[in-house]
């Protein structure tokens, strides 16, 4: 039995609103899911699991029509859905009212339900979110029915406000595989047993790293899974280390080269670190044009030897000023120290 475990597709989301690529990303998320259906078709996947947050918000009727059409293209694949915290079941949700194809099974109950897919001899367990937040450990009690067949739990959550859970609790349930959604970063919790598929496409700049889906197989030896990168773009944190001889231009060249190297379609968050010439203040607004830049954070420090300066200027304003900030480790405090120091030294020349 071959299956694909995906989730957190967030159809309808518009990531990075206000940035030039935002609308394109909205479309890409749809395209990516369509691409996944194509993979399912080509590879003859038996079971497609979608572990919640299929939609970013409440799905509209016409959107479900699109989805159902896609599902009709893979009639030999069984599809199991659930609603997560983003697309939780509101009283009039179209999820429950939609006339789905015969190969689609929605886990629309509030408490755990099981569905038996006789063609693939598989039991799938799960339930949906009826509100945005659930703090009860609802998965702690869920157990497989012990009947012959493959037993898969489809679950969503795992943080404090979204059904907290521990892997021991899940392991006690006696499932062959637990397909988890909600955490956007893919991760295997217990090898071949419990895994987060991660968001199919990354959705904001916190979703760094590779994104895709999990491909699984149930054979003689039980379940084996592997992560398949599939996302069209990645959010890449770009750490640029500057030195006292770095100028705005050389910084720009450095960033351009890195973007060329990592792929120009990717979305970059630039963090500037290191020691800069105290007289240079980088202009982040000019860096935004070098590619798809989601943000720039300048954490570089002016190349001052603070300890030495404190000693040399002891007894004068500059010395007292350094002393004043000595115990302030907040980012604002650190920045204030450097701003003030720069201005004071500038005023001394």
């Amino acid at each position: 039995m071959k299956f694909i475990h995906t989730g957190d597709i967030h159809l309808g989301a518009n990531p990075d609103a206000g940035f030039p690529w935002s609308e394109e990303r909205t479309k890409e998320i749809w395209d990516s899911f369509r691409g996944l259906i194509e993979v399912v078709r080509q590879e003859g996947i038996d079971l497609l699991l979608i572990a919640g947050d299929f939609f970013h918000r409440q799905p509209l009727m016409r959107e479900l029509k699109e989805i159902n059409y896609l599902f009709s293209m893979i009639p030999d694949t069984q599809i199991v859905l659930m609603a997560g915290n983003h697309d939780y079941l509101q009283p009039d949700s179209y999820y429950t009212r939609f006339p789905w194809n015969d190969n689609v099974f929605g886990m629309w109950e509030e408490s755990c339900q099981e569905v038996y897919l006789s063609e693939i001899h598989t039991w799938v367990y799960g339930f949906s979110y009826y509100e945005r937040e659930i703090t009860r450990r609802k998965y702690a009690q869920v157990k497989s029915n012990g009947k012959p067949g493959i037993h898969i739990l489809l679950a969503h959550g795992g943080d404090e406000k979204h059904i907290p859970m521990a892997k021991e609790e899940l392991l006690r349930g006696g499932f062959d595989y637990v397909a988890l959604g909600h955490i956007h970063r893919p991760g295997i919790i217990v090898k071949d047993r419990i895994a987060y598929c991660g968001a199919l496409e990354p959705l904001d700049r916190n979703d760094v790293g590779a994104h895709g889906y999990i491909k699984g197989n149930y054979g003689q030896e039980g379940v084996s899974i592997e992560f398949i990168p599939f996302a069209r773009r990645s959010y890449v944190p770009l750490n640029i280390i500057v030195e006292p001889d770095t100028t705005q231009f050389s910084l720009e060249e450095q960033i351009k080269a890195k973007i060329r190297q990592t792929g120009k379609d990717n979305l970059y968050y630039i963090t500037i670190q290191g020691m800069r010439d105290p007289d240079i203040i980088f202009m982040p607004e000019y860096l935004s044009d070098l590619g798809n830049i989601t943000g720039v954070e300048d954490n570089s420090k002016p190349d001052y030897d603070i300890e030495k300066m404190k000693e040399s200027y002891r007894g004068s304003l500059i010395g007292n000023y350094i002393g004043h900030f000595e115990s302030d480790d907040t980012p604002t405090g650190k920045k204030a120290l450097y701003y003030g120091l720069h201005a004071l030294l500038e005023a001394k020349r």
Binding site: L60, K335, A336
Partner: protein, 575 residues
């Protein structure tokens, strides 16, 4: 602390020099370019090392200025000094690739650690900055082209706020304010961009809302059409309705309409379709009752036809009653089929929509007697209306959902931008820097003001042999001197007097900032503007108050005057 000996290996233009210094007044005499300032810089470098500037500033820093052109590795020297009755030897190599420092107490052979702060203690914790601002004095020079009195006033103002005459606090503040303004400008631009984005959200929302209103309007219209259709039927049915009957019927309709609206908004239990199914059953039941009555009527008509046939009634009566019977039966079947369709359709396809249109209950009770009168066309039209209202209600629901989704998107966007205001961090930091400078500076000023002015006055009185009795500093920008007879604003006194005031200020500050250790005083061309009398007074003051003084000069005057005064001055000649 007293400097005993300087050994210069290579420092600027000075090479392989050994200079001995004595207690009391030392006069270092040399023509221009003979290396007086270099020697002054060498002493400073020995005491504090040479700190390299970084970045571009390194090109003309102290290091580059005094680094020998040849044999940079000899960029080094040695100093012997006395402190607390012991002799110390301080050696330094300034060469950047081979920086070395060493401090040895020659008296007891102990090796001390500069890194651990041993030298700091011997220097009485006088920092480089304090050294520059007190005991190491250069001629008051106007670098900005300002008059000397302005220069002194600024120096004094800076001094009081920062213990650093070179540090212009107002300038520092204005640099920070300009930076802050820049970030505020960026923030405004950013905010404007975000507003445009927000506007795009609201435009979308408004658009959906307009559509929603249009749909609601249409629903209202369809419903009133439906009700009109129904009331027209009512009137034909109860031909002789009184006016009051009609009014109460209209009132009843209004109430029903209101009820419908309310149900539409509030009714939530219908979502699982249960109630709808019940409604559906009712439809079937009721139309069943209708058909029973119809059947009875049909049978009656049929009976009439048979009787008329048997008892030789005229043929047309038989024909009429037969046709009537058939029509009624046919109508009956049709109604049954329609009501089954309705019940089935509602239950299967959209079980949640009962509240969207007038309830079946109404339709059926109306239908009960009116069936026969209603034409096919009317029925079709009503069916169409029902279907249309259902469609609209569905569209309304979808639009409402879309609107709520957009609203959620909008809120998400607002919360993201709230967290992501980087300019605000910079603005806060700069504000914090400004406030801190202000606070520290005013604390320092408070500390100074009490005693400094008094002490300046005292020194000034001594070195002007009583000509000036006091110095008045209203605020640091307005300085005036008192003589026995009058009050003289600073801008009216001579250069020499301004230099004297500057000297007094330096010496007064030194007394406060260098209390732990009596440090040597280095005076670089300080008496250039002094007349003979003033030099005498200054030398006398220095001899009485300072343990070691180094006077750097390119004139012989100081030496001659010291001789005249029989002051034991040690002479150092530089060539």
């Amino acid at each position: 602390m007293k400097i005993r000996q300087l050994q210069i290996h290579s420092f600027g233009k000075l090479k392989d020099r050994e200079i001995i210094l004595e207690d009391g007044i030392n006069i270092v005499y040399g023509s221009n370019e003979s290396g007086k300032s270099t020697m002054h810089a060498f002493i400073r470098a020995m005491l504090y090392g040479i700190q390299r500037q970084r970045g571009r500033a390194a090109r003309n820093d102290t290091y580059s200025h005094y680094e020998p052109w040849e044999n940079s590795s000899f960029f080094s020297g040695r100093m012997r000094f006395e402190s607390g009755g012991k002799i110390f030897r301080l050696s330094r190599n300034f060469y950047k690739n081979d920086i070395k420092e060493e401090l040895i107490c020659e008296t007891d052979g102990e090796c001390l650690s500069i890194a651990q702060g041993d030298l700091e203690v011997l220097l009485g914790n006088v920092s480089e900055s304090v050294f520059d601002n007190t005991i190491s004095v250069e001629q008051l020079r106007s670098r900005t082209g300002d008059e000397l009195d302005v220069q002194l006033r600024n120096f004094m103002a800076n001094y009081e706020g920062s213990s650093d005459g070179e540090l212009d606090i107002e300038k520092a503040k204005s640099i920070l304010k300009a930076q802050k303004k820049e970030y505020e400008q960026k923030q405004r631009l950013e905010l404007a961009k975000q507003e445009t984005q927000k506007k795009q959200f609201t435009i979308k929302m408004e658009y959906v809302q307009e559509e929603l209103q249009r749909i609601e309007e249409q629903i209202k219209q369809r419903k009133s059409e439906w009700l009109q259709c129904k009331s027209a039927k009512d009137e034909t049915r109860h031909g002789k309705m009184t006016e009051s009957d009609r009014q109460s019927a209209a009132l009843q309709r209004e109430i029903e309409k209101e009820n419908l609206k309310r149900e539409q908004l509030e009714d939530e239990q219908l979502r699982n379709g249960q109630s709808m199914q019940e409604g559906g059953k009712e439809v079937t039941k009721r139309s069943g009752r209708g058909s029973l009555i119809g059947a009875v009527a049909g049978i009656l008509c049929f009976g009439l036809a048979v009787i008329s046939l048997l008892s030789k009634f005229p043929g047309w009566i038989t024909v009429v009653s037969t046709i009537l019977g058939l029509v009624i039966l046919g109508g009956l079947l049709l109604v049954r089929a329609v009501s089954r369709n309705n019940a089935g359709g509602v239950a299967d396809e959209s079980p949640n929509n009962q509240e969207e249109y007038p309830s079946d209950h109404q339709i059926d009770s109306d239908d009960e007697f009116a069936e026969q009168e209603e034409t096919e066309r009317q029925k079709e039209y009503k069916k169409h209306l029902r279907w249309k209202i259902e469609q609209l209600a569905e569209a309304q629901k979808e639009k409402t959902m879309q609107f709520e989704n957009l609203q959620a998107d909008y809120e998400e966007y607002c919360s993201i931008i709230r967290e992501d205001d980087k300019n605000q961090v910079e603005i806060d930091s700069i504000t914090m820097a400004l406030d801190s400078i202000e606070e520290i500076s005013s604390n320092m000023q408070k500390y100074w003001e009490k005693d400094l002015h008094q002490r300046i006055s005292a020194i000034m009185q001594e070195i002007t042999t009583g000509r000036y009795t006091g110095v008045e500093v209203a605020d640091s920008r307005r300085i005036a001197l008192h003589t026995k007879e009058q009050y003289v604003p600073l801008e009216q006194v001579s250069h020499g007097t301004i230099e004297q005031l500057y000297f007094s200020l330096r010496m007064a500050a030194a007394e406060y900032l260098c209390q732990e250790e009596a440090m040597p005083v280095l005076l670089d061309e300080v008496f250039a503007m002094y007349d003979e009398e003033r030099i005498q007074a200054a030398l006398k003051w220095l001899d009485e108050h300072k343990e070691q003084v180094l006077i750097f000069t390119c004139r012989k005057r100081e030496m001659e005057i010291a001789e005249q005064m029989n002051l034991p001055a040690h002479k150092v000649l530089l060539y």
